[in-house]
């Protein structure tokens, strides 16, 4: 098996995809958004409870490929507790890193190393960034569903 594939489908990524963190609806929701990759059927709902400018709680529901589910799970772990500004910055940093505009991920979280492997598979980058775009839409209270295209 190539090392790139091993990096992509690592223990950590598979664990996150098969037993995702915060995979539920929130009982109290202040912000919500829905997004899909219509070409492959990845679909993500992101729920937020924002109080006093901080993301007190975050969760997600959805279905999709291992990369999308793992990215969603990891996202909820590192977004919880951040201010809106910090969350926005993290979204931009992650997006830019995945799309090749930045060299460093800038997130000190072991699980995110697992997502760095996606960069070697450009056709799958949108699987990783979908949940983050949905998060961004939720933060900005966007009315329209997010739609991303990926290979398929």
């Amino acid at each position: 098996m190539s090392s790139e594939l091993t990096n992509l489908y690592s223990e950590i990524l598979l664990e996150h995809s098969q037993q995702p963190s915060n995979f539920k609806k929130l009982p109290v929701v202040s912000n919500y958004a829905h997004g899909t990759n219509p070409l492959c059927g990845d679909a993500v709902d992101v729920y937020l409870r924002i109080e006093e400018g901080k993301i007190k709680e975050i969760s997600f529901e959805g279905q999709g490929c291992a990369i999308c589910m793992a990215s969603s799970s990891m996202m909820t772990e590192c977004i919880k507790g951040l201010t809106l500004k910090e969350a926005e910055k993290l979204f931009e940093g992650f997006r830019d890193y995945m799309q090749g505009h930045k060299q460093e991920l800038g997130v000190d979280l072991e699980s995110f190393e697992a997502l760095s492997g996606v960069k070697r598979f450009p056709m799958r980058v949108k699987c990783a960034t979908l949940p983050w775009h949905v998060l961004n839409a939720a933060l900005n209270n966007e009315k329209q569903d997010i739609s991303e295209e990926c290979s398929g």
Binding site: L39, C65, S151, G152
Partner: protein, 402 residues
């Protein structure tokens, strides 16, 4: 037919001997005779056609028109005037929808399609239906991937003004009984369009025997280049249809007072065509004819059946459908594993396979799926390709399930 010899004819497969190419339904690989026709055209034959008085132009024109005759013979059309060169099936359907259908469709008329159609045989009809107030209806698909012909009598009412069906499904592999469907439609005076994109590379098609009004195929799916395709239309239809695109070559005379148009097929070939593409398409059709349709079909059916039997033995693999009358494409899912993950892991093992909805979203919805993996075979595929594919599938399960 010696398959190993056939494979040697395909430079890309020879240049990448580790590649297992299982995506011919998306686009076929090209034999050297087609690639050489392209180089030869640009190295020795290139000139614009139909207009020049010099020899080079005359020769290019002759070669282009010779390809039209090859396409005519390939489909057994009555005359070359019934063959229009287009970009592909998508353009063919848009052309017929916007000129033929639009000229008679009225409010509440119906266009009958099937649930298994490719988007290119849905959207153009939706566009024309919307502009005329007509409706699009569908023949349902059974769980085994065949059309539910029991529903046909109720669907083929006097409201139906056009029937358009795919010959071979790009997602299911189903070979539809189009001759029977055409006969039933003709009894009611309903014109029929057949999408032959996935058919002509596997089997002989005789448009006179079928008696369809229109038949279309794309060059790049039958070992030819992209950007060229063929629309067959019965002469009386093509001559009665208004032009599709206006411009040079399709006119008799132009003035600001009045412009007059040529007869078919030139009427539908505005501007400089894909001359090289048409000539290379001719080479592709020659390639297919030289092997022989019986040999091609028998070989591909053997590979298809072998693949399907092997796939049925893979635990956790669910075929989308299983029916006897199939060729070309097999769609499936591995339990608990998303098609894109299957595709990426197979890719890492040099297996090129498609994952997604295959431009048949309504069909996916009917089967309650968002996406599938699809293996599709061409004349160059071997039992060894199938074996590597099965090994790859087991690797996928190993990597994801861990």
């Amino acid at each position: 037919m010696n398959i190993e010899d056939i494979k040697k004819d395909f430079p890309l497969l020879m240049n990448h001997p580790d590649l297992v190419y299982l995506d011919t339904a998306a686009s076929s690989q090209k034999p050297s005779s087609v690639i050489q026709a392209i180089s030869r055209y640009y190295e020795h034959e290139n000139a614009n056609i139909h207009r020049g008085v010099y020899r080079l132009s005359a020769e290019a024109t002759a070669k282009y028109e010779q390809s039209r005759i090859k396409a005519q013979k390939f489909l057994n059309a009555q005359s070359p005037e019934e063959i229009v060169f287009v970009r592909g099936v998508t353009e063919a359907i848009n052309l017929v929808a916007q000129t033929f259908a639009k000229s008679f469709l009225k409010k509440d008329d119906e266009i009958l399609l099937t649930e298994m159609e490719h988007h290119s045989n849905i959207v153009p009809w939706q566009l024309v239906a919307e502009s005329c107030g007509a409706k699009v209806k569908t023949i349902p698909v059974l769980d085994n991937g065949e059309l539910d012909l029991n529903k046909l009598p109720n669907l083929l009412t006097d409201k139906v003004k056009l029937l358009s069906i795919v010959h071979v499904s790009n997602t299911l592999g189903t070979i539809n009984p189009i001759k029977i469907l055409i006969a039933q439609a003709k009894k009611l005076g309903i014109p029929v369009f057949i999408d032959g994109a996935q058919a002509v590379s596997h089997m002989a098609v005789d448009v006179q025997d079928l008696d369809c009004d229109f038949y279309a195929f794309s060059g790049h799916k039958v070992y030819g280049p992209t950007g060229i395709g063929v629309l067959y239309g019965k002469k009386q239809h093509l001559n009665n249809m208004p032009p599709y695109h206006g411009g040079g070559d399709m006119i008799q005379s132009v003035s600001f007072e009045k412009t007059t148009y040529k007869q078919a097929p030139q009427k539908f070939e505005a501007g400089t065509p894909n001359i090289c593409g048409a000539i290379a398409l001719g080479a592709a059709l020659d390639f297919v004819k030289a092997i022989g349709f019986k040999e091609i079909f028998d070989h591909e059916l053997q590979i298809f059946n072998y693949a399907r039997e092997c796939m049925k033995k893979v635990a956790g693999l669910a075929l989308m459908v299983e029916n006897i009358n199939s060729i070309g494409a097999i769609s499936f899912n591995l339990e608990g594993i998303h098609p894109h993950d299957v595709g990426t892991i197979l890719d890492a093992h040099n297996i090129a396979i498609r994952a997604g909805h295959h431009c048949t979203q309504p069909l996916m919805k009917r089967f309650c799926l968002s996406a599938t993996v699809r293996a599709s075979f061409g004349v160059y595929n071997t039992d060894e390709d199938v074996d590597k594919f099965i090994t790859g599938l087991n690797k996928v399960k190993e990597i994801i399930r861990r």
